[in-house]
Amino acid sequence: MTDKSIAAKDDAEPPREPPTKPTTATPSGIEVPQVVTADMVADREPEMPGEYPFTRGIFPDGFRGRMWTIRQYSGFGTAEESNERYRFLLDQGQTGLSVALDLPTQCGYDPTDSIAKTEVGKVGVSLSNLAEAEILFDGIDLAGISTSFTINGTASIIYAMYCAVADKKGVPREKLTGTIQNDILKEYVARGTWIFPVRPSMRLIADTILFSYDQTPRFNAISIAGAHVRDAGCTAVEEMGYTLANGLAYIDELIRRGGDVEKFARRLSFFFYVHMDFFEEVCKFRAGRRLWAKLLTERYGVKDPKALMFRFGVVCGGSSLVGAQPDNNVVRVGTENMAAVMGGAQSIFTAAFDEAYQIPTEHSAEIAVRTQQIVAHESGIARTVDPLGGSYYVEWLTDRMEEEVMKVIDEIEAYGGVTKAVEDGWLQLKIAHRAAERKRKVDSGETVIVGQNYFRREDQKDGVAELFKLDPQASARVIEKFEKVRDSRDNDAVASSLSALEAAAAKDDENLMPYLIDCCHAYATVGEMVATLKTQWGEFEEPVRL
């Protein structure tokens, strides 16, 4: 290695002796007894899966009724290339699609925009207008597969495009299944694909949820996500706490819009990371499920058990993947996969071992799918519901985590609620400090990361053997196709659909979804729709605090 800075690192760090004992506290800081005994576990009525408060799972038959969905996040370059990868993954036994979109699509810029041009097709596929969606889903049965979109700032537009592509293919909207992430609150805190100010963004989210309840009843119009704040530095407790607090904020907005909580709460779903501390992760999900059901019952008087069910998907990987000795990530993802199953996840994305570096190759993507298949069909852990239920430790830790999660929610509410915490940058700053703390613990060796801060080989070269190379011409092809659509569409229809959208956006109580779908059918672009909405709402001004 010729890197001077790496040399500086080696000078600064003499080889360390690895620890010989486990730590006594979980990464969230919960001090764990040497042994948990029966008398330390709270006395409560025996809990059953499928029954309130759902600690043990939302379904009485667990995975016997239905296995979790294997849903790999994927997408890059052009719609043609991504379509090919989707067909490959479906052929390998994947059971749901998860669409990765490029940053211009996520931030609401057309591929020709000057700020977008270096990012076209890089971290996901470019989906700038309906023509691209038609290519992306070519040969894929939209009525038979569920599709998840990691999209937030432009979620309503991508959802409209999905409805429009279904219309074009003759698939009834009520048959559509899948999810849009559509969780803007956490975008302001981590991940950063916000566009509009907080309040109109909340309105847009309420529009999608209310629309989906009528038009696409099997489609989740929101996936309230803790994953990204977790990746940004939060603990497991904070991840669950912030996510539930965001969920409550969306409920309040929906109620303000006249929604019936009994109905729309059934359409709320959640999304988390699974990191490496096995029992903390399992108990995070058990505690979250119980607490959500309690909050909805106690605060909103929700009665319908279906509306109380805490449904969630997970990612195994994220920042728990390590660049050093990357093959080891296969083991990390496998461990996390098992925690997700023990925690009762409805859908699981196992990241590929090389994702700390790059878009997965076909080889690494296949191992990630096989990992789930091995856990599902060889390990036997899905055989009975909540197999860890009743373990003294698991029940004790579930209770402790529930208490700690509630403290996080209380703290935000004491500050003045999520919206204020985000607008002020209070939450962002808190997470930045948490991230620095987490990094310092790794740097000091308090947190062990095998192959990175301990157990390194002398001649270790960090990197992956097989490189994924994006086609350098992909972005040029995206732009060429984009210009062709723009030149051949009916521009009068585009203009009139956009002006109808603008007029509707000016009225606070008009649901924008039908207008967005009309725009999509007219082949208006994502950039045009976003620009139209910006004329009414302006843009979010990021509170930059250090």
């Binding site: 800075s5 500086a8 990012e119 971290v123 950063g192 660049g323 490189l467 990021e542 930059v544 250090l546």
Partner: protein, 132 residues
């Protein structure tokens, strides 16, 4: 060593919203004595160069995790040169594959920092480079 008296701009060029690394380094440089300015998200290289000049900084640190590091570094170097600010030192941090390091260095990056490095090592490298 300390960075007392040094002014450093930490910037997020392009559309990438992953700012944890940028903030961690900004906080650490400030703890080491530097005056740190953080641009916030989604800034163009042109904007970053103008802020660097207006704020009279000694160094600019770009944080890039979207894979667009080559284009964004080249563009920032060009914008700084256009403002006769080629003497401002440039660093890059983020998800930067090692096979791209030489090319970035050739383009003008004086240090390339990835997540595996310790915070102290990054601060030390910047101190050494700025002669603090």
């Amino acid at each position: 060593m300390s960075l007392n008296g040094k002014r450093i701009l930490i910037a997020k060029p392009g559309l990438d919203g992953h700012d944890v690394g940028a903030k961690i380094i900004a906080l650490a440089l400030r703890d080491a004595g530097a005056d740190v300015i953080y641009t916030g998200l989604r800034r163009s290289p042109d904007y970053i160069a103008r802020v660097a000049v207006d704020e009279d900084v000694d160094a600019v640190g770009l944080s890039i995790l979207s894979g667009s590091h080559k284009e964004l570094v080249e563009e920032t170097v060009r914008c700084l040169a256009e403002l006769d600010a080629g003497d401002i030192h440039l660093f890059v941090g983020g998800t930067i594959p090692s096979e791209d390091h030489d090319e970035l260095r050739h383009a003008g990056a004086r240090g390339i920092f990835t997540a595996e490095m310790t915070i102290d090592a990054v601060v030390a490298a910047i101190e050494a480079d700025l002669g603090a």
